[in-house]
């Protein structure tokens, strides 16, 4: 296990390194002068020169990267052109909202897909199974942002039950906070719910036909005990291992859901920054999300190797 873990962690290092290079190059690939991109198009030549010096643009590119990396290691991501604030501060203000949304989406998907997946597997080829199958297909085909709009029409405009957008922080008023979280979380969770439900159903069906289940039944265990004590535990192991990666995709999805619901998270921060040509902020947001995604990938693989001995010995 340790050899596998070490190898897998060593593999992640060049990936993290390359993604910092890609994100660093983003500012330099922009058409025109990066200093102009940072200082704004109506900056005076003196301001431009100052920015160029600040950013170290008068140095060769590899050296610039090295300096940028050192700043990064000290948590210095640069300053926003628009507000003049530290980008690290902007990120730290927005990340909790995005994480709250992604976690809520994850919990919701898991809760719904566990029920629908298990019920469908236990009622294979019956009407319930068929209804859940149709639901899952629709959940996978309906884009999150359209679901968001439909929810706003029904629950906010027509029924008036929920606010159409915005976020109430959880510290102040829990009820209002949950109300503001409900629709974005549902819309975000939709495709993952469909996918997980299918996955759990397939995994459950596979286990239900295995020998140890037949043994459990033949020694006279109650069906309930067979399913909960023997089948479910084995069926859910592979599910645990896909969750890390899926959480990463949920984080990607928050960008668009935040835009639909004016949710003040990382996604809206980045989109506003693109609109304002505040590229340092875009760069930092991308880097943060990419590194979270790489770490989730790594944890998923390690977890998988921990749970399934066959993976460790493979060429992985």
């Amino acid at each position: 296990m340790w050899a596998y873990a070490t190898r897998r962690i060593l593999q992640a290092i060049p990936v993290v390194f390359l993604s910092t290079v890609l994100v660093f190059l983003l500012l330099h690939l922009l058409p025109g002068d990066p200093a102009m991109a940072v200082a704004g198009s109506n900056a005076t030549p003196r301001q431009l020169a100052a920015v160029r010096h600040d950013m170290g643009l008068d140095e060769p590119l590899p050296l610039q990267y090295w300096i940028w990396l050192q700043h990064l290691a000290h948590g210095n991501l640069g300053r926003s052109v628009l507000s003049g604030q530290q980008v690290s501060l902007l990120l730290s203000q927005r990340i909790p909202a995005t994480m709250e949304l992604a976690l809520a989406g994850m919990v919701l998907s898991l809760a719904v897909s566990l029920v629908t997946g298990i019920v469908a597997a236990l009622n294979q080829r019956k009407a319930v199974d068929w209804v859940i199958m149709v639901f899952n297909s629709l959940a996978l085909a309906i884009p999150q942002f359209w679901m968001g709009i439909l929810l706003i029409i029904v629950l906010a405009v027509v029924l008036g039950w929920l606010p159409p957008g915005g976020r109430v922080a959880s510290g102040s008023n829990l009820g209002a906070s949950l109300k503001s979280l409900a629709m974005p979380a549902i819309a975000l969770a939709l495709p993952l719910t469909g996918g997980l439900s299918r996955y759990i159903r397939a995994s459950m069906l596979e286990v239900l036909y295995e020998d140890h289940i037949r043994t459990a039944r033949s020694k006279g265990l109650a069906e309930r005990a067979v399913i909960y004590a023997h089948a479910l535990r084995n069926a859910l192991l592979p599910v645990v291992t896909v969750l890390g990666l899926q959480f990463g995709f949920l984080l990607g999805g928050t960008v668009i859901i935040e835009s639909v619901f004016s949710w003040p998270g990382l996604g809206t921060l980045m989109l506003d920054a693109i609109g304002n040509r505040d590229y340092v902020v875009v760069q930092a947001g991308l880097l943060y999300l990419a590194i979270v995604f790489i770490l989730l990938n790594l944890v998923t693989d390690l977890l998988y190797g921990f749970l399934d001995p066959r993976i460790r010995s493979g060429s992985g």
């Binding site: 890609l22 629709l138 159409p164 990607g252 960008v255 875009v282 790489i294």
Partner: protein, 307 residues
Amino acid sequence: MAAQPLEGAESALGGPVTRGRARWNNPPSPTAAALGRTIRNPMGLIGAAILLTLMLTALLAPWLSPYDPLVQHPGKELLGPTSQFLLGTDSLGRDLLSRILYGTRPSIVVGVLAVLLGGGAGIAVGLLAGYIGGWVETILMRGCDTLFAFPPILTGIAVLTVLGPGSLNVAYALAISGLPSFARLTRSVVLAEKNRDYVLSGRAVGLRPGRIMVRHILPNCVAPLLVQLSLFMGIAVLAEAALSFLGLGTQPPLPSWGSMLSDSRDYLRTDIWIAIWPGVALALLLLGLNLLSDALREALDPHRVNA
């Protein structure tokens, strides 16, 4: 002139292997058989029919549309469905049906282009990495891991920040984000195939590596790649709509389903129809692609019983 006899000699050597009686499609090819099973599966048939219909719609949009999708009809803004405008009009009095029909174009074109570019480049990278191995493989695959670390929407945002908005740029961005999954898949098939007898004998008679890769190994990758292609087209269509929704994709006044949905957000209290139709069209296309890729996967996997 001197090159002529040399080339002849080489093909005379390679002749029996490449042009002999046993062409790979002479016995019923496993890929063709799997395609047959896909179409015989009702889900696969429905998926293929939806995809084909929407592709034809994209092609024939000028003849199918009752109006020019860009023409504004003053005084007819935000109408619900009427006999004159079957699906209603938008906030500028443009016919929604015509805009929906023309809106198939960016979705289908970006989807197909992303698949061709991303699939083509990914397959090439996978073939090279798998066949050559060594440090070439390490570099290529770590590069793929890195691209893989950015979900499609984020790659889209990054690339479009650099290239600027527009449908074509969206296709490039999505091709880049799709590349690693094709490369990984192709590489895994190549690794399984490259020590088989037919590859070794091809090498023994002196076939060029490029020829072995493209003519002999690649056909064995077709079946698993088909599943990935249909799957990725769904991802690309969805991402195109999402990026257009965010204002980074297809630019107004050109109609696209994503940007139509984005416009609809200002009128949810007055006219919900503009928020309904583009979503229905988009969900239909995605459903078709999902059904098709599910049926393909089922047809290609003999072990899958409980699908």
